[in-house]
Amino acid sequence: MEQAPPDPERQLQPAPLEPLGSPDAGLGAAVGKEAEGAGEESSGVDTMTHNNFWLKKIEISVSEAEKRTGRNAMNMQETYTAYLIETRSVEHTDGQSVLTDSLWRRYSEFELLRSYLLVYYPHIVVPPLPEKRAEFVWHKLSADNMDPDFVERRRIGLENFLLRIASHPILCRDKIFYLFLTQVFFFYLADSRLKALNATFRVKNPDKRFTDLKHYSDELQSVISHLLRVRARVADRLYGVYKVHGNYGRVFSEWSAIEKEMGDGLQSAGHHMDVYASSIDDILEDEEHYADQLKEYLFYAEALRAVCRKHELMQYDLEMAAQDLASKKQQCEELVTGTVRTFSLKGMTTKLFGQETPEQREARIKVLEEQINEGEQQLKSKNLEGREFVKNAWADIERFKEQKNRDLKEALISYAVMQISMCKKGIQVWTNAKECFSKM
């Protein structure tokens, strides 16, 4: 496999920075190994810490988050959070890891990296970023981006994002990704390119698989957002149930003061009610992680759609080219045979202003024949590109499907584990409380 896919937008080469200490020659040899290596990864974020990146193992972590203030483009003061990215290389021999690079980046830089990847790898399902703003909140969580819990979860999400790229067989080898991890001055891309991709158009013969995929991604997005919304509401209600029980604690305690026989039982039962009420905080914090796992796939739906759009764009392009070629051929034929079936401006003006000379006609035919030739070449290469794109894209989509099935199944199982833990805690507390009540 080549380093970069045959992309019509190749002219957008980044600034020619050679990756430090990694010979390109080595890349070719590494390909086979990396393909194997990537296949070894098992499900889940936790295992994606190792990557056969340019023949060395590399560990990536987003280890810290810090509040910063600075001046923005409009010279206004703003507060933002910066995240520390640390890269370690692991020596084969002794398994020790050495810190090779560390730098601070903010969320918008991650966005830029992702935008670049979307543009340069249109057939790849590019991993999503964690949410920009806190959505699907239930009342306890603030929707504030500076909230420590939100920042912490985002830190984990950003690390996850980088690890997913690092373990992707194609994306991991991208130079810009490497630069992102190692060079402070990250180059900037115009995102007008992204806007162009979003333009709408009509495709006559789309590949059915892509149409289905688009439908699937719409369904995925809609069902996950619905699920997350309801989950947030359920969490809110559950919080209410637990917390109200805490009031018993206070009242029981006050009541126990006037009771001789019942006093002790009431007092200790009240204590258990307090324990019960406060247990919900940890329970819901854990559930938040589950919600994040689902959210990642919510955002992945957008990435899937991007791939479908690219296919549509290419297909459209192809169809336009084919149409254009067909019309030119027709014109040519008419000129040669003298029949006029298609409308052309030249033809009309000729009719209106008199016949053209045979020389003029010859010239026109020649031009058309040249254009037809060129068109046929282009069509051929576009066809080739299209087929190549479909092949590559579909390969990545298959890979994505496997990953998604593993991850979602694991997420659902972890949800069950959380519920089990919650139930066990509940049984514990209420058994204790019951004992206190029975001693009253």
Partner: protein, 451 residues
């Protein structure tokens, strides 16, 4: 007669606590001259009660009744009551069984009201038969309560459910309201039946056995409106003076009642709130499961897992519903009854204080030679007896009430804990079996992959 009773050691419940019976104030003898015009007046007084749109909570009406307790009836000797306390909890000695059921709506041109069927089964001799079936409406219960309070001003009469609950009632009589009330009325009558003194009250007997017309005519007999008004005035006057010499033990009792009332009210609010939150949680959960089913329609490889998750959530949902109904059956009615009881208790304290105040005012009159002092010593003597009786009755009943309260509260909260344990155990089992099935599947798949 009363003096005799105190001297003798009244042995056991076998004695139909004699005097307790003779006391239906004005139940027997109609007040001379009252049958005519005062009967009409009395009916009007009753009409006030018939107005069930009155938003006042019952306890305010009770205070009106308080004023009627100045009948010269003798409260029971405490000794016979103490002996009866020993037997009250032994069900094999229970000889009066009452059920309240079958609420029925009656529509007339003037009003709509509900009646409840009351079935009484008894082996007691003083009852003409062993089984009775009557229909009574809330008004009738109010009447009974009033009579009991009149006859036993310092006994702790069980509370009636509220007349009307303002909050969130769209229809005056929706099913939940009627059912809650029915249960409370059932409790009310059974508590009376279990009370060593009240169980032998004549009005109680009539309430359980008389046909509708018999009851109406019985109700109309009683001290006339004018005399009742007179008593009310005197009572208000004496209570205005305040309680100067409340004995120490009653001070303690009063403190307890005040604190208890605060706490039980708070617990009532908390418990209602928990129920509300659980209900809302249940409503949201109902929507949660089906989304997973919806999702499974787009995922070929995750269909089973998603469907299993959905069914687990649904089962937990059902468990929540069960927990909620347990709460509303075991805890809420008990706590609420004690809220009403705490209001009752305050009424009882007031009545006791009034009786004492009457004595105190006479003593004062004697001391300062305010009025004609010839008859005073004798009156004072009677009042002293009355106060002592009232105090003793209250003391004994207080101990009994406290014991019952402890048992009831303990049981109610133990039940609540039990409901919660059961709920969590059910949910635990559901999710554990899901996990097992997923692990098994995984193992199956893994073994399938092996060559």
């Amino acid at each position: 007669m009363e003096g005799e009773r105190r001297a003798s050691q009244a042995p056991s419940s076998g004695l139909p606590a004699g005097g307790a019976d003779g006391e239906s104030p004005g139940g027997g003898a109609p007040f001379p001259g009252s049958s005519g015009s005062s009967a009409v007046l009395q009916a009007e007084v009753l009409d006030l009660d018939e107005d069930e749109d009155d938003l006042e909570v019952f306890s305010k009406d009770a205070s009106l009744m308080d004023m009627n307790s100045f009948s010269p009836m003798m409260p029971t000797s405490p000794l016979s009551m103490i002996n009866q306390i020993k037997f009250e909890d032994e069900s094999d000695l229970k000889d009066l069984f009452i059920t309240v059921d079958e609420p029925e709506s009656h529509v007339t041109t003037i009003e709509t009201f509900i009646t409840y069927r009351i079935i009484t089964k008894t082996s007691r001799g003083e009852f003409d038969s062993s089984e009775f079936e009557v229909r009574r409406r809330y008004q009738d219960f109010l009447w009974l309560k009033g009579k009991l309070e009149e006859a036993h001003p310092t006994l702790i009469i069980p509370p009636l459910p509220e007349k009307f609950i303002v909050k969130g009632m769209v229809e005056r009589f929706n099913d939940d309201f009627i059912e809650t009330r029915r249960k409370a009325l059932h409790k009310f009558l059974n508590r009376i039946a279990d009370h060593p003194t009240l169980t032998f009250n004549e009005d109680f007997k009539i309430f359980l056995t008389a046909q509708a017309w018999e009851l109406s005519s019985h109700k109309k007999q009683g001290p006339g409106l004018l005399s009742r008004m007179g008593q009310t005035v005197r009572a208000v006057a004496s209570s205005m003076r305040g309680v100067k010499n409340r004995p120490e033990e009653f001070m303690e009792m009063n403190n307890f009642i005040e604190l208890f009332s605060q706490k039980i009210n708070l617990i009532d609010k908390i418990s209602q709130r928990i129920y509300k939150e659980e209900r809302e949680y249940f409503d949201e959960m109902k929507e949660y499961g089906p989304i997973h089913i919806l999702w499974s329609a787009s995922e070929e490889d995750l269909v089973d897992t998603l469907k299993d998750v959905a069914s687990c959530i649904d089962r937990c949902c059902k468990a929540t519903e069960k927990r909620m109904s347990g709460l509303s059956e075991a805890l809420l009615p008990v706590v609420h009854e004690y809220v009403l009881y705490s209001e009752m208790l305050m009424g009882v304290m007031k009545r006791r204080d009034q009786i004492q105040a009457e004595l105190d005012s006479k003593v004062e009159a004697l001391t300062y030679k305010k009025a004609d002092t010839d008859l005073l010593p004798e009156e004072i003597g009677k009042l002293e007896d009355k106060v002592e009786c009232a105090n003793n009755a209250l003391k004994a009943d207080w101990e009994r009430w406290k014991q019952n309260m402890q048992n009831d509260i303990k049981l109610a909260f133990t039940d609540m804990a039990e409901e919660n344990i059961h709920y969590y155990e059910q949910c635990l089992a559901t999710w554990e079996s899901f996990l097992t099935s997923q692990t098994n599947l995984h193992l199956e798949e893994a073994s399938e992959d092996k060559p």
